[in-house]
């Protein structure tokens, strides 16, 4: 017997438009379901991606290298030597987009009116520019010109709290490498603004060479920070760097900042829950209607068999019909997703609700992130669900010919 594929497809296609209202409703359900999965996932991914990138930008980097005890006690005694030739080679590999070394110690900053605890950060501004927010966030004065530039750069909010401003002097107090309290005056040469107030309050940036001199630490540094091309895929790089610096702690951003690191897992959980919600909604609509559509035509499907069609082709007939419907729905759903994501590709401004978002550690502009695997998953969920929903009643239809209905009117 020849597979009457074309004939089956013709019948399937015409059957779909026989009850066009139901077909349109199913198309709507499928496309909205797929759209909802893709769109929401893209927004959620965008949100989390934003949060993580914000943290990475906030002196976190992708990978940090420090003395093994530094994380427990981030003080000057746990400093490291600047990278030797082997580690430098390793850091200069093409996979690493940028790296820098920093001083990072607790300090007290005082104006003539107020004092506050901050983190004193000694940077090499040229190298730092590729790694963190500072160079793009200066709103008054200028960034530090070099590692031995004389001034200090602080956040706008910190200046406000200290009741000081650009051009004024402040004093930084910390402990040097001999545990002696040292202090030194710096002129404020730059003010930065950050997405988050906490960032503006947290740091005082000075030149790295100046910091080393001030803290009597020769050419030692607190940490080395680097970024590669993808923050999600660091295992290999971590191992390679660790091999060239066996005595140091080499860890990824999500270990340094487990809270932000957990966001990835939390988001995957959210996405899963969302997919289950859409899946359930679809199940009620799609599964019922598809099953009904097959059930209603039990007699016709039986007739095909009575005319000599193999039971297997009855399944094929139903399958073709559902697949056409599903593909049309998926096409519309993906198109809808594309249409709703393209206009907000360059970010949607959420500043109206921005205050709340900032508290959650996010910036107020949201960029959707579309991942191929999310699209594939959304489509797969619908296809599998749809085929199962129509195949099960079709199997029953193929197994039982309603003889009475066909031969006894």
């Amino acid at each position: 017997m020849q597979t009457p594929f074309l004939m089956l497809s013709t019948i399937a296609w015409r059957n779909l438009w026989r009850n066009y209202r139901r077909t349109l409703i199913m198309l709507l359900a499928i496309s909205v379901g797929v759209w909802a999965m893709i769109w929401m996932t893209a927004l959620m991914r965008g949100m989390v991606d934003q949060m993580i990138k914000g943290s990475i930008n906030n002196l976190l980097g992708h990978i940090q290298i420090h003395a093994p005890a530094y994380r427990d006690d981030p003080s000057i005694v746990n400093s490291i030597e600047p990278p030797g030739p082997e580690l430098t080679d390793s850091l200069n590999r093409p996979l690493i987009k940028a790296w820098t070394s920093r001083i990072r110690v607790p300090a007290v900053i005082s104006s003539e009116r107020e004092s506050r605890g901050v983190t004193l950060v000694g940077i090499d501004p040229a190298a730092e520019a590729a790694l963190s927010f500072l160079s793009e966030s200066i709103t008054q004065g200028s960034n530090l010109a070099s590692a031995d530039a004389p001034g200090v750069v602080i956040g706008r909010k910190l200046a406000e709290r200290l009741e000081t401003r650009l051009g004024k002097r402040i004093v930084l107090v910390s402990q040097d490498s001999d545990n002696t309290v040292v202090d030194r005056g710096f002129r404020i040469t730059g003010i930065f603004e950050a997405e988050l107030q906490t960032t503006e309050l947290a740091y005082a940036f000075v030149g790295r060479d100046r910091a080393q001199e001030f803290l009597n630490m020769a050419d030692q540094v607190s940490e080395i920070s680097l970024i590669s091309d993808d923050y999600r895929n660091l295992t290999h790089l971590l191992e390679n760097i660790q091999a060239t610096a066996p005595d140091l702690e080499v860890i990824s951003w999500d270990q340094v900042d487990p809270y932000t690191g957990s966001m990835l897992a939390v988001m995957d959980g959210f996405i899963l829950v969302w997919i289950i919600v859409v899946f359930l909604a679809l199940s009620f609509g799609l599964v019922n209607t598809l099953a009904m559509a097959v059930f209603e035509r039990k007699r016709e499907l039986g007739l095909l068999q009575a005319l000599g069609m193999q039971p297997g082709y009855i399944l094929l007939q139903v399958l073709i019909e559902s697949v056409i419907l599903l593909l049309l729905g998926l096409l519309a759903g993906n198109l809808l997703a594309w249409l709703s994501i393209v206009p907000i590709q360059d970010g949607i401004d959420l500043s109206a609700i921005g205050e709340g978002l900032e508290l959650a550690g996010m910036s107020s502009i949201l960029y959707p992130v579309v991942e191929f695997s999310d699209i594939a998953r959304a489509n797969l969920v619908v296809i599998v669900l749809g085929i199962l929903a129509s195949l099960l009643p079709a199997l029953r239809a193929a197994r039982h010919v309603p003889v009475d209905a066909i031969t006894r009117p």
């Binding site: 004939m7 019948i11 026989r18 009575a306 000599g308 003889v403 066909i406 031969t407 006894r408």
Partner: protein, 228 residues
């Protein structure tokens, strides 16, 4: 050689507590090339017998041989293949595929049998013309009268030249003129191609065309009349 052969054929339907003996111990041989008409009151078992012969329903007990093959133990897929290859079926209600036009309904079976596109189109049009449906080939069943639909069903049953045609009251919805045309077509096929016909009817006109008449009552053969 027999085209159809039944031995001690029984079919019992269970209706709640009640057992309905739709066929009881039917022994029947139909020669290849025969032209047989089943008649008898409503509920006598005509449709049940035709369904058994066509392999649409399985007997409660007994043996059936059709086209040289025992079909009472056959699997569903084998039965479907047998129907496709050897049988043409006209049902008591016309049972057309609603989304296909008259011509497509007729071509459908021919296509499943592997007939080429040109040939089956030609055949379908010829046969539809023979049953008097010229000009209506592209109408869907819903756009045809009951009698016209019945004729499409007949055309579908004979398009591929089956060895055996089973027709359950094929003229029930036809006016006598059309019924006569149809019967003449059957007789012609029977004589030219030795197609075996087993019909059921309440209509005397049809019985006149048959060479053998079998009367059923309460699931038993009560008369077997040779009309040749």
């Amino acid at each position: 050689m027999y085209s159809v052969s039944c031995r001690r054929l029984c079919k019992t339907f269970q209706q709640g507590e009640l057992a309905v003996h739709a066929l009881a111990d039917v022994d029947l041989d139909i020669d290849a090339g025969g032209f047989v008409c089943l008649f008898g009151p409503s509920g006598s078992g005509k449709t049940t017998l035709l369904n058994m012969i066509g392999g649409l329903d399985t007997p409660s007990s007994g043996e059936i041989t059709v086209a040289g093959q025992r079909i009472d133990q056959m699997k569903r897929a084998e039965l479907a293949r047998l129907r496709l290859k050897h049988l043409g079926f006209v049902f008591q209600s016309y049972n057309l595929i609603p989304v296909l036009s008259a011509r497509e309904n007729v071509e459908f079976v021919a296509q499943m049998q592997g007939m080429g596109a040109q040939q089956r189109k030609h055949k379908a049009l010829t046969i539809l013309a023979e049953v008097g449906l010229q000009g209506l080939e592209d109408r869907r069943p819903a756009e045809l009268s009951g009698g016209q639909q019945q004729r499409v069903a007949v055309a579908r049953a004979i398009v591929s030249g089956p060895e055996l045609v089973l027709a359950d009251e094929p003229t029930a919805n036809l006016d006598s003129a059309t019924a006569e045309i149809l019967m003449k077509l059957f007789v012609q096929l029977n004589q030219q191609h030795q197609t075996t016909f087993v019909l059921s009817t309440h209509d005397n006109l049809i019985m006149n065309y048959a060479r053998r008449l079998i009367k059923l009552r309460d699931g038993r053969i009560v008369e077997d009349i040779d009309q040749t």
